[in-house]
């Protein structure tokens, strides 16, 4: 009872990266709170899925295996997670801030009338004293996230309601393998206990999921562009530089919204979090949501015509000027000096 639960997403029989990262975070929170870590997996044809989960430290894996449960549908998954949470009464529930997690978690929070914080960038355990009543709360989950367009960092708590729910994006938490020998208990769920016919009010007609082609998360060098790049054509320059340096191209949310680059290359709070050894930010102003996704980079170079762009303040090098002039020069002098 009162354990930490992680909802594990399934993609083609594999537990999603974000879920493994959350299991790792869940493990360290469980150690801190001296409680158990439990995983929930809902899908079809997932016999043996626990083998992917135990190495990340789960003590219990709840499995609902039914041919109607994959691909993900909101209502049946919500009914099962809700039912399980009502029975098991977890103190914390973690979901990936993915298309699935952000669709599912609010539905659960509403049904259980409990608090949920989206897109946390950090999760900690701490105490709280209510100002008015002086009531003390021990070991709450601090859900930390940028808010208000990234201009503030808020620490959110749920003093009274349980479970305390949070979603976290892929790449924010670090995946940590506990031990290949770590073993836990498998508990099979009979989904019919909670499912009703109405839960299948939505059916999938067509589904087209692209395989993971772009992988900016693991790139050692990233050339990223913001709205200041100006156009899709100018983004070609970034691709040229990335090709020469052996890196990947990424973009800020403004660049994605501007249609310069596809969403899967977005770095930041609502995109991917990256930690390359070199991050070249071209025409990126550097709002906090973007910086949250890249400020762990070893070396940051900002190329910007605005000497006062906020990104310059976290950059190791700032080159003031026009990217259409600077990038070709970077390519030229790189090629000149390497053989």
């Amino acid at each position: 009872m009162h354990n930490i639960f992680v909802y594990c997403e399934i993609e083609d029989g594999q537990v999603a990266e974000v879920s493994l990262e959350l299991l790792s975070k869940g493990r360290s929170l469980a150690n801190r709170l001296k409680c158990k870590l439990e995983a929930v997996v809902i899908g079809s044809d997932i016999k043996g899925i626990e083998k992917q989960i135990f190495p990340f430290g789960a003590d219990v894996v709840h499995i609902a295996d039914d041919n109607r449960l994959y691909p993900y549908l909101t209502l049946p998954h919500a009914a099962i997670v809700r039912g399980l949470f009502e029975d098991e009464k977890p103190q914390i529930g973690l979901f990936g801030a993915s298309s699935v997690g952000r669709d599912l978690a609010p539905r659960i929070a509403s049904a259980l009338k409990c608090g949920l914080t989206a897109d946390c960038t950090s999760l900690e355990i701490g105490d709280h004293t209510e100002n008015k009543t002086q009531k003390e709360y021990k070991d709450l989950l601090y859900q930390i996230r940028p808010a208000f367009g990234g201009n503030i960092i808020a620490t959110i708590i749920n003093p009274e309601t349980r479970p305390q729910l949070a979603t976290v994006r892929e790449g924010v938490m670090k995946k940590e393998h506990v031990s290949s020998d770590h073993k836990g208990i498998v508990k099979n769920i009979d989904p019919s206990k909670w499912l009703k016919d109405e839960d299948f009010a939505i059916r999938i007609i067509e589904r087209h999921i692209e395989s993971r082609k772009v992988n900016i998360k693991n790139a050692g060098i990233i050339v990223a562009g913001g709205y200041g790049v100006g156009s899709k054509e100018n983004f070609r320059l970034l691709y040229d530089l990335a090709a020469v340096l052996g890196g990947e191209v990424a973009g800020s949310r403004a660049a994605v919204d501007g249609g310069f680059i596809e969403h899967e290359r977005q770095v930041g709070q609502t995109g991917v979090t990256v930690r390359p050894k070199l991050y070249i930010a071209c025409g990126i102003s550097g709002q906090i949501q973007h910086r949250a996704g890249m400020d762990q980079s070893a070396i940051i170079i900002s190329v910007n015509n605005d000497p006062h762009a906020p990104i310059n303040q976290i950059a190791d090098y700032t080159i003031i000027g026009d990217i259409t002039e600077i990038i070709p020069k970077m390519i030229k002098f790189y090629q000149k000096n390497t053989k």
Binding site: E160, Q287, I288
Partner: protein, 317 residues
């Protein structure tokens, strides 16, 4: 009588026509509710909105129609394009001045609007907000579609849409890009997922949240802009010397109704701070602190020097 009917070609065509009319009739009176929010424009925090200590002066940010709520409105307008009998009602929750976005929606083709406004709503988190909105929606029942933006740019939570759906006890289709078909009580919607697209079919009523990749909202229509130019809410009327009362008596569609806690029949305990399980423990203003940074120019010398340095310390190459 029906048994006696001989299915000659002419009759068959007549029956087809009847069936067509019946289908059409089903969609007649299609009621669409659009949820929208007026938000501070957090995307472009200019220097004017920065205080001397490096924090943001929120009051200095302009109030705008939340971008994805405009995508939601466009999805609704496209349904109405194909079903001229459909009606679009827009609901917003916020301070009295949020009537501005209702007017904006009317200029683009919405038929009616309500501002859910009361000081008792203040401090509501997504759970309390969705509770209040769901009560307002229930007041407008029967409805067929509830369309909202995926998320608002001041919070980026994307929680209110699904939570409203749960409170209404109806399905949800999140991240909608396009409504691909709508007939006989069934709707098909194309959804934008992280790494792909999915088309789903659902019964109605259903809550749909619009993704930013859905079509951009059309601009104002001259005819509607003239028609609704003088649409006002009661609290707006208090601040004006013009005689709107007579105008609204003659043209009732110019009244933007305001709904209080009592009007939607909400339990005050489930609103505001008391109805919000999430509490803000701490807020830190983001202060842009400078780090040691080498500033270079675009000259050949500076750039060659930098590239050499990066090659020498094995960052690249």
């Amino acid at each position: 009588m029906r048994l006696c009917l001989i299915l000659r070609r002419k009759n068959l065509m007549y029956i087809c026509h009847l069936i067509f009319k019946m289908n059409h009739k089903k969609m007649k009176g299609l009621k669409i509710i659009v949820l929208a929010k007026q938000v501070p424009d957090t995307r472009n925090v200019g220097k004017d909105a920065m205080k001397a200590d490096g924090t943001v002066n929120r009051a200095a940010l302009p109030a705008i129609f939340n971008p994805e709520d405009l995508n939601a409105l466009e999805l609704a307008l496209r349904v109405k394009d194909n079903n001229p009998d459909a009606s679009i009602t827009i609901i917003t929750m916020g301070p009295g001045r949020a009537a501005e976005i209702i007017r904006e929606a009317m200029y683009r083709g919405a038929d009616k609007g309500y501002v859910v406004t009361d000081r008792k709503f203040a401090g509501s988190d997504t759970l309390a907000t969705s509770y209040a909105l769901s009560l307002a929606i229930k007041k407008l029942a029967p409805y067929h579609l509830v369309i909202a933006g995926r998320q608002a740019i001041d919070g980026d939570t994307a929680q209110v849409g699904p939570q409203v759906a749960e409170k209404l006890g109806i399905p949800q289709i999140t991240y909608a890009e396009e409504i691909t078909s709508l007939k006989k009580g069934e709707i098909s919607v194309k959804r934008r997922l992280e790494r792909g697209v999915e088309t789903v079919a659902s019964s109605m009523p259903v809550v749909i949240t619009a993704h930013s990749s859905a079509p951009e909202c059309r601009s104002r229509h001259a005819k509607y802009t003239i028609k609704y130019k003088h649409a006002r809410s009661l609290s707006e009327l208090q601040d004006t010397s013009e005689d709107y009362l007579q105008l609204q008596k003659d043209r009732p569609y110019l009244l933007i109704e305001e709904w209080s806690v009592e009007d939607v029949g909400a339990d005050v305990q489930q609103l505001g701070l008391s109805g919000s399980p999430t509490k803000v423990k701490k807020i830190e203003n983001v202060i842009f602190t400078a780090k040691e940074s080498k500033v270079l120019s675009a000259t050949d010398k500076d750039i060659e020097g930098l590239m050499k340095e990066l090659i020498e310390n094995h960052t690249i190459g």
